[in-house]
Amino acid sequence: MIYFDSAASTSPSQDVLDLFVKSNVNQFANPAAAHALGRDAGRELEECRKAVLSAFHVDKTHSLAFLSGATEANNLAIKGVAFSYQNRGKKLLFSASEHPSVTEPMRYLASAFGFEAIELPVDALGRVEPDTLRAYMDKNVILVSIMGVNNETGAINDLKALAKIVHEYPKAYFHSDLTQAVGKIEVPYSDIDLFSFSAHKLHGLKESGALVYKSSIRFVPLAHGGGQERGFRSGTVSLALNQCLCLAVQNSLRNPKADEAKVRPLFDALYEGLQNEPVTINSYREGSPYVLNFSLNVHRASVIMEALSQKGIYVSTTSACSTRSDHPSSTLLAMGKDMETSSNSIRVSFSTDNTLEEVHRFLEVLHQLLKEVHPR
């Protein structure tokens, strides 16, 4: 098996799995319960929260809400801030290559609640240029959402420069979906007012993620109830799940440079190897080495994906969330690619578990398939 779909999900690491069992066995009480056992769990939860914030070096300035994943975190950040601060202005900005968990809440706010949600164009490599953002900013903007690393192409946004522009406007908050960025690229975490991520992209567990936000920010909650997670997200909190998230974050932030050094040669080898194939590479060399996206010039991506799958090689066509629909990738369209290119892309995504041998084997199999399989 060759697993090249780590941008969709990674395998949980053994220490995370062990911790999940251990924590569930030892501290199963409800962290909100008033008795001693519950109080212990509650204390552990707060320590765990602090530990995550410390790992990002934002423990003095930011707070954190444990959530079910980046989708919920993006929703809370966008709807929560928009509803809470709509008296300051009703303008929201987001980049054209955002994940649906950002674009859809934005469109919903626009269509149902009269917000003005504006899509920021991206350049040919899929990045929001700081000058573009500057041109769109005004005093009515209350939230700007721009992702760190694009999930489909690995394009990297200059978050430091973008955050700086947003902060020239005191009423505007800067949110970033860092799902594909945490532990993979250098991120100026403390410059970002709100950021989201999922644990399962970091060898953690699914249904687990968080929103980190400047402590002064107030949200209108998505789920009303017993007031857990400071009322931003009611519902019984899983200590074990969040301890696992904490461990996954700590592991991923331990040595990002060394991890990148492991993955970069894989990206380079694949990039080079694809030069002689009938494909168009949509990623660029200075982007995230964890993601390489290319379009098939004459073949159908779903067919090649299936053929690879039969040979035990797992990649995805656009993002896993949208393989059930025939829509072209909106990210690639936003980059100015044509319909055919945008509808026939394959994403290879790595983790540090992958090897150069796997890349070579992949190239060999792909070469054979592109020769054998009937074009579209």
Binding site: V303, E306, Q310, R324, S325, H374
Partner: protein, 392 residues
């Protein structure tokens, strides 16, 4: 008096002569099998099957029986002695149990030796009910419509009746080989056959990697739906990729679909003969797509003299969709995976293909050996009550 049994009325048996007994025996067997999990007993006579409820809730039992083909109607009945006195008491009790204010009584006198005629019985019983209970008669829109059937052995009283599936008991008409693509039409066609009493075995043509193997999961879910009507179904998957590729290499684009369908029918007939089924069936509807024009059907069917059934041949797409929704297969069928009919879609398929051309194009490659190769690679999956049971 509580309704403590179900009376099953047979479907289309009036046209049957000597076979009648065999049909009833088959239906009784199917009813018993389908009620196994309820632990209820069933018995038959010349006109009905009776299910003894033993105080269990009739609703789930009726719901289950509505999935058994060959049943016209299911009534919930109470039984009493075939005397006027007993009938009066029973009628009053049943109506009181029902709790409506107005009623109407319909009497059917099967036992013609009974001294009163139907009208006479109706008047006697109704008078008794009016005298002894708080009821009124309403002949047009009653709260409770009480049906009384007087037979030699007993009188049966019923206020509730539901329509069954109709058709014939499953298995009575033999079995057919059904082509299942995963699309909207074929599950509806398979159901139509089952309802008519025909056991169905399914074939699917898989062309990986051009079609996703996720289609097989889709088929499994479809078969799980159809398992309500036929408790075990066989699905055989034929590796069709090489034939597809050969077609697209040797045949001009407009003829690809025609030749593909001819190959499918050849394979299906070979499988049908091997599996000893009596016909091949498809979900085709005349005129729906290029391969389903009368001209195409003629040219495609030329490959065999084996019977080919098209249960949906005159159905509109909208009515097929409505049926698929009712059957529960629609949402499964529309999952967007490529199936064998949607890949390699020619831009201009031939709607009026010529046989001579087909024969000429087919002469350009050795399809016979490809067909043999395909038949050698068949994979079989069996489904029973919604679960995969054996993989051969």
């Amino acid at each position: 008096m509580k309704a403590n049994m179900l009376m099953i009325h047979f479907g289309e048996l009036s046209t049957k002569g000597d076979n009648r007994k065999a049909f009833i025996a088959c239906l009784l067997h199917n009813v018993r099998t389908s009620l196994k999990s309820f632990g209820l007993e069933a018995k038959s006579d010349r006109d009905h099957i009776y299910v003894y409820l033993n105080d269990s809730d009739p609703e789930p039992v009726i719901a289950r029986l509505k999935e058994v083909s060959g049943i016209q109607r299911i009534s919930t009945v109470a039984k009493c002695e075939p005397t006027l006195e007993a009938m009066k008491l029973a009628a009053l009790e049943v109506l009181q149990e029902e709790g409506g204010r107005t009623f109407k009584i319909d009497v059917k006198r099967v036992d013609k030796r009974f001294p009163l005629d139907s009208y006479g019985i109706t008047v006697e019983v109704a008078d008794y009910v009016l005298d002894h209970g708080d009821f009124e008669v309403d002949l047009h829109n009653p709260d409770t419509r009480l049906k009384m059937t007087l037979r030699v052995d007993a009188c049966y009283l019923s206020c509730h009746e539901e329509l069954g599936l109709g058709g014939y008991p499953l298995g009575m008409i033999g079995k057919v080989t059904m082509l299942l693509s995963g699309g909207i039409d074929s599950p509806v066609a398979a159901f139509a056959l089952m309802r008519r009493g025909i056991r169905v075995e399914c074939l699917h043509f898989a062309s990986p990697p051009y079609t996703s193997m996720a289609v097989v999961d889709k088929l499994k879910d479809i078969l799980a739906c159809l398992n309500d009507y036929q408790r075990d179904i066989k699905l055989q998957i034929l590796p069709f990729t090489k034939i597809q590729e050969a077609i697209y290499e040797h045949v001009p684009e407009p003829y690809c679909i025609t030749i593909m369908r001819r190959m499918m029918i050849r394979l299906a007939v070979a499988m049908a003969k091997k599996n000893k089924t009596l016909a091949v069936a498809t979900g085709e509807s005349i005129g729906q797509v290029a391969s389903q024009t009368l001209e195409s059907i003629g040219v495609i069917e030329e490959v065999t003299n084996f019977p080919i059934l098209r249960p949906l041949c005159v159905e509109d797409k909208l009515s097929i969709i409505a049926k698929a929704k009712k059957l529960g297969t629609y949402d499964i069928s529309i999952r967007p995976y490529e199936d064998c009919c949607t890949i390699f879609k020619p831009k201009k398929p031939k709607t009026k293909p010529h046989l001579d051309d087909c024969l000429y194009f087919e002469s350009k490659f050795d399809y016979e050996s490809l067909i043999q190769e395909c038949l050698a690679g068949v994979e079989t999956i069996c489904f029973s009550e919604g679960k995969e049971v054996i993989k051969e």
